[in-house]
């Protein structure tokens, strides 16, 4: 019964979306208040019905209702509760339901927090949101219904892929979707602004927090996925440049560009047309990411052939959304007033440079991701474009970007003074060159990229800190600037956005250092051992003491025991496992990882050597030392923190400064 309620609620939500996508937009054209206010009620109603629908599906998973096809295909009664719940979105149909849930959530949030938006503008934003939602509801109801029943009712489900039964991955899709859907708000604001033919700093203040929130969620989502790959796939890689990863990385790159160009709109009323275009492109990549990953097109062109209904729907939907919004852009962007002028060497100029590099690097990633599909369709050749392509194109483009990241915060708006900036960054430049030279000396046989990586990481970190302390003026504690008290006051009054930028840019620097060190100076040992054997990895002694069988809730495992010591001092007992799950029957490798500030120790135990010459109690083990790898996660966490701190900035909360004097007051929009 609850299953039918869920299905029915979804249909009601669809009906509300149709209303919300038509009446308010029409009302905005006719300046009809009644029609425009329909949007608010409809947005809240949609949220209500989608929540009911989602809870019904979740209930079916929790009680293991195997009369529902989706539950049969993706769940199992013996599965731990957490993974029964995460199983809801661990499949195509359920993940789309999660998508519309988040879309409805954000729609309602725009309604509640957007009280100070002009009525016609709000009606248009919510109308556009509803049009996107309508497409998704139709797609779910027509081609991917999660509430489909199955008869006869099977006794047991097929289970969820054990690799996906993991806390890191349980929350990876929801965060990615929060990011993707967050960008839909920027999209709706952009389309509404195009319809009204007006983009100004106030518009940027409305759009920035949504973009920032979406960026934070995307960052968390990508980092969680990467972390999962690192400890779950068993060989310590954390980024593979695989099409599915690229699909989430491209929206992140564009969202990063959008975040920065919106600052120029907000502060200088410039780059307006470009920012609107970025908002459209960012969401287009989100759609591409959602659909192409889920439909399997990225791994094979033939997925269209195996499931033409979904494929054709997706193509039409993408054409309508992307084509439609770009057409609107072509028609209306000319009406946007050109903004303030600036010299090439200025804060604006640096942000344009940032946008240019981010867009171009997104294009190279897109090309590498789609090239195999393209070649297959045209010549029939099967090729794969692997990490070497991406490392050879993406990384060189990031080098000037990171250099610019260090300089940009020191530049003044409109026109910056080259001499003054050089004066501030002289010491930092010299120090980074020294760091690179020291690396080159110590690393004479290592990869060249290591030298560049260390130099850039140190440069970005120091240049960011230099800017931060210069803004605080901590060095001038003299009486005329208020002494220590004055300094403390400056710390308190420093805008949150400055804190946010410092954290985010500093996090990027730490991430660069972690990536560089862990990929350049990793030590790897692969060997066959018997109990009592000792292996030496990067100064650590790994003593293999044996393997014991253990039982988990839905698997059995062989657990290896490895004692790690350094110079005779115990460091850690590592217990990697090789698991065999029951439902579905599958083997997985659970790496044992010991994280230290200086790096990770990573151990995997393979199979018993029963084949070939090496028989008996002998096991294959693979050990790694990955220097500075935890810095990667720390860097990502700092970037997220930076985004969150920026979100608390007062400027972003006071949505429309022009209205602060009006009747509405400035207290709305929290």
């Amino acid at each position: 019964m609850t299953v039918e309620i869920g299905h029915f609620s979804l249909i009601l939500a669809f009906a509300l979306a149709v209303i919300q996508g038509s009446l308010p937009l029409w009302g905005a054209v006719r300046s009809d208040r009644r029609l425009m206010t329909v949007a608010s009620g409809a947005a809240i109603g949609q949220l209500l019905f989608v929540v009911i629908s989602f809870l019904c599906l979740m209930n079916a998973y929790i009680v293991s209702d195997f009369s529902v096809l989706n539950v049969v295909a993706n769940s199992h009664s013996q599965k731990p509760l957490l993974y029964k719940i995460s199983g809801v979105w661990g499949n195509h149909e359920g993940s789309l339901l999660l998508w519309v849930l988040i879309l409805a959530l954000f729609g309602a949030a725009v309604d509640l927090w957007g009280r100070n938006l002009p009525l016609s503008f709000k009606a248009r934003v919510l109308g556009v949101q509803a049009l996107i939602a309508t497409g998704f509801y139709l797609f779910i109801l027509l081609t991917s219904n999660p509430f489909e029943r199955v008869f006869p009712v099977p006794l047991e489900g097929r289970g969820l892929n054990p690799l996906l039964q993991d806390p890191g991955l349980a929350f990876h899709p929801p965060f990615l979707y929060l990011g993707y859907v967050g960008l839909s708000i920027a999209f709706s604001f952009a389309v509404a602004a195009l319809i009204e033919g007006r983009v100004d700093p106030v518009w940027a203040r409305w759009v920035r927090p949504w973009t920032l929130a979406a960026w934070v969620f995307l960052t968390i989502g990508i980092a969680l996925g990467s972390w999962w790959a690192y400890y779950e796939l068993g060989w310590g890689g954390w980024w593979f440049w695989d099409p599915v990863e690229n699909a989430s990385f491209m929206p992140w790159l564009v969202a990063t560009a959008l975040l920065h160009s919106a600052i120029v709109v907000e502060k200088r009323d410039s780059l307006k047309s470009w920012t609107v275009l970025l908002a459209i492109i960012a969401f287009s990549f989100s759609l591409l990411g959602t659909f192409l990953v889920r439909s399997g097109v990225l791994t094979s062109v033939h997925a269209f052939a195996t499931d033409p209904e979904r494929g054709v729907f997706i193509l039409i939907f993408l054409c309508l959304v992307i084509g439609g919004s770009l057409t609107l852009y072509a028609l209306k962007s000319g009406q946007l007033q050109p903004g303030g002028l600036f010299a090439p060497f200025s804060r604006e100029g640096a942000l344009v440079f940032n946008n240019l590099l981010l867009s171009v690097s997104t294009a190279t990633v897109l090309l590498g991701t789609l090239y195999p599909l393209f070649l297959d369709a045209v010549t029939g050749d099967k090729v794969s474009v692997g990490p070497p392509y991406f490392n050879g194109t993406f990384i060189p483009l990031m080098i000037p970007l990171v250099i610019a990241m260090g300089v940009a915060p020191h530049l003044s708006w409109k026109r910056a003074d080259v001499g003054a900036v050089w004066g501030r960054l002289r010491v930092v430049s010299v120090l980074s060159v020294i760091a690179a030279l020291v690396t080159a000396y110590l690393n004479s046989k290592g990869p060249v990229m290591a030298v560049a990586g260390v130099g850039l990481g140190v440069w970005l970190l120091l240049a960011t800190l230099q800017d931060f302390f210069a803004k605080l003026r901590l060095t001038s504690l003299r009486a005329e600037s208020g002494g220590l008290q004055g300094a403390a006051k400056r710390v308190r009054h420093l805008p949150k956005s400055v804190w946010g930028m410092t954290f985010a840019h500093g996090g990027m620097a730490i991430l660069i250092l972690g990536v560089t060190a862990s990929s350049s100076w990793q030590t790897e040992v692969l060997d066959i051992v018997k109990p009592g054997d000792v292996l030496h990895v990067a100064g650590y002694d790994f003593t293999f003491t044996g393997v014991e069988p253990v039982a988990g809730p839905n698997y059995t495992a062989l657990r290896g025991h490895i004692q790690v010591t350094k110079n005779g001092v115990a460091v850690k007992a590592l217990q990697p496992e090789s698991r065999t799950y029951f439902n579905p029957p599958m083997e997985t490798t659970e790496a044992a990882i010991h994280s230290m500030p200086g790096g990770d120790l990573f151990a995997v135990v393979g199979e018993r050597q029963t084949r070939g010459e090496a028989e008996g109690d002998r096991w294959a083990v693979r050990l790694y030392h990955k220097p500075l790898l935890p810095w990667l996660w720390a860097g990502a966490a700092l970037m997220v923190l930076g985004g969150l701190v920026s979100l608390t900035d007062r400027r972003l909360r006071v949505g429309a400064p022009k209205k602060r004097m009006g009747h509405h007051g400035g207290t709305n929009a929290h």
Binding site: H92, T306, L397
Partner: protein
């Protein structure tokens, strides 16, 4: 708008266009070299036998692990097996841990280079972590060789393709 402002605007636009083209040019150059050097082609055993592939060229070889072909070489760490498409078979050496789902009779994709004695030295073994998954390249290689058993074999459908690179684990050898 004054005349000087118009020309300033034009000059700014010129800077932007020139800068944009410069970055784009660099990117195109990078992409072209990277594509030329780093594309890895996929071949089935029959194609390997019939094409005269240059020695040392990296490519991907995929097919089924031939029944009864697996053995461990005396060094205790190099795996030897043959990859077949039913018509032809290629001997493969791989030094490293095999993925969990490596089995005789299962589909597999390997990446490496061909030795002069026609042994394929694999440096990576890719396996989907799904007991009934058939890599799509393998399915097509089998179709080409005329030994495909039909779709019941299970190229995994769109519905249950998991979200992340899931599943596909790359095992790097030494």
């Amino acid at each position: 708008m004054s005349l000087s402002s118009v020309s300033a605007r034009k000059r700014r636009r010129l800077y932007m266009v020139v800068g944009g083209l410069a970055v784009l040019g660099v990117a195109v150059a990078l992409v072209l070299t990277a594509l030329e050097e780093n594309i890895v082609f996929f071949y089935g055993p029959s194609e390997v036998k019939e094409k005269q592939l240059p020695m040392g060229q990296r490519f991907r070889l995929g097919g089924l692990v031939e029944d009864g072909s697996y053995k461990m070489l005396p060094d205790g760490i190099t795996h030897a097996f043959a990859i077949t498409d039913g018509a032809e078979a290629v001997q493969v050496y791989y030094k490293g841990l095999l993925p969990d789902l490596f089995r005789e009779g299962q589909g597999v994709v390997t990446e490496g280079t061909l030795r002069p004695d026609e042994v394929f030295m694999a440096t990576e073994v890719l396996a989907k972590h799904d007991e009934n998954y058939m890599p799509k390249e393998v399915a097509e290689a089998l179709k080409k060789a005329g030994t495909w058993q039909g779709d019941g074999h299970g190229v995994s459908g769109s519905g249950d393709t998991p979200e992340k690179g899931e599943g596909e684990a790359v095992f790097k050898g030494q």
